[in-house]
Subunit: 227 residues, 2 copies
């Protein structure tokens, strides 16, 4: 769960657990969850497969740790997008900007690191830590916060607040999946971009009642798709 860790110094490794997780994440990066095996991770670290069993109960345990690691990477990618945002404007504007940046971060991560994304959402036993905490500390929590802010600022009516985070996340997650494995994978870049923009527009229009001023709309679209 931390950085690469020292290369081994003699018989004992020193930080084998973290080294294995790091190796597992690199395997996930290049080949997705199916590439994460105890043998391959041990090989990458330069250690016998058996040694891994000192630190993990088995394959499932290692994969779970890798999953958690991928989720963290994803969370970081979204934070990066958030950090680039200007602070100007009223609360609604700032919150909508953040919503757009989250979507952008999510989709950019999927495009840049499909293997990590697939692993983060791999089927099977959940994460090592209690489920809720892992998810709520990650990407999902950020969406919840932004929607709370949108409600507090008066953009999102209170009666529409419940479950709104699910709608938002579903839309962006579905967009990502359909691009990765579904029929949207064949779209050219331009169409892909327009699909993302339209989905963002539909979601924002579906959340708030009122329309957006033109300049705000333009700014948001640029955040969600631009650069």
């Amino acid at each position: 769960v931390s950085s690469p860790g020292p290369v081994r110094t003699g018989y004992h490794h020193g930080d084998l657990r973290n080294a294995l997780i790091h190796a597992a994440a690199e395997l996930a990066q290049s080949g997705g969850p199916d590439s994460v095996t105890i043998r391959a991770a041990a090989r990458a670290v330069g250690v016998t497969p058996t040694a891994a069993y000192r630190h993990f109960t088995g394959h499932e345990d290692l994969l779970g740790a890798a999953k958690e690691c991928c989720l963290e990477r994803m969370s970081e990618a979204m934070d990066t997008e958030l950090a680039r945002l200007p602070e100007s404007g009223d609360r609604v504007r700032r919150a909508l900007r953040r919503l757009a940046a989250l979507g952008r971060g999510y989709l950019a991560f999927v495009a840049a690191e499909p293997g990590l994304f697939r692993t983060a959402f791999a089927q099977g036993l959940p994460l090592v830590s209690p489920v809720e905490s892992a998810w709520e500390a990650g990407p999902f929590l950020k969406v919840i916060e932004v929607l709370d802010e949108l409600m507090a600022a008066g953009f999102l009516p209170a009666e529409r607040r419940p479950m709104a985070e699910v709608s938002v996340w579903s839309a962006v997650h579905g967009l990502a999946m359909l691009h990765l494995d579904g029929p949207l994978g064949d779209l050219d870049d331009e169409s892909r971009q327009r699909a993302i923009e339209r989905t963002f527009e539909v979601i924002v229009a579906g959340l708030g009642c009122r329309g957006l001023p033109d300049d705000l709309h333009t700014e948001l679209i640029e955040i969600v798709g631009g650069r």
Copy 2:
């Protein structure tokens, strides 16, 4: 791609290709795409693995056929929901009803047949037939038709029509995926239901400009979640 096919009658099978596809689909049903192997399919049919190579170029070919088969099953499930709909009301009402029924069919299929769903969207080489036709003959086409109708009937403004099908499908697909493998899997049935309803509301509100009359809203929510 057709029905079970006759049980073998002697040395020659008669319809081995279809029998293998059927077996592959059953494997997919119970264990997802990873369970679809040439050996297992041959075993199920009662034939040597080698025999499969008379009808498929290899594992990937069989899996592709299974994928196509799963997509068809999904399409049928959605058609079933469409067929149960009343025909009363104006064009907008009928089209929105159909939109709700498609979402319902999609999500019900995912819940009832997760293995088939996973296989339909399995990663890897596309389908046997040309990509577009397979998808556009399937679930996606139905969404496109309904949205065209919503535009023609005046509910969906023309300038919001492009890519709207992607937004709609992304939302429902994301909902399905997050329930299957994501953090939404832990929701109780009641919350799950509300999440689906809210997502439908957000999408409909995001597509059309105007609000829905109360009775229509109620009817649609019942279609999307009810029974």
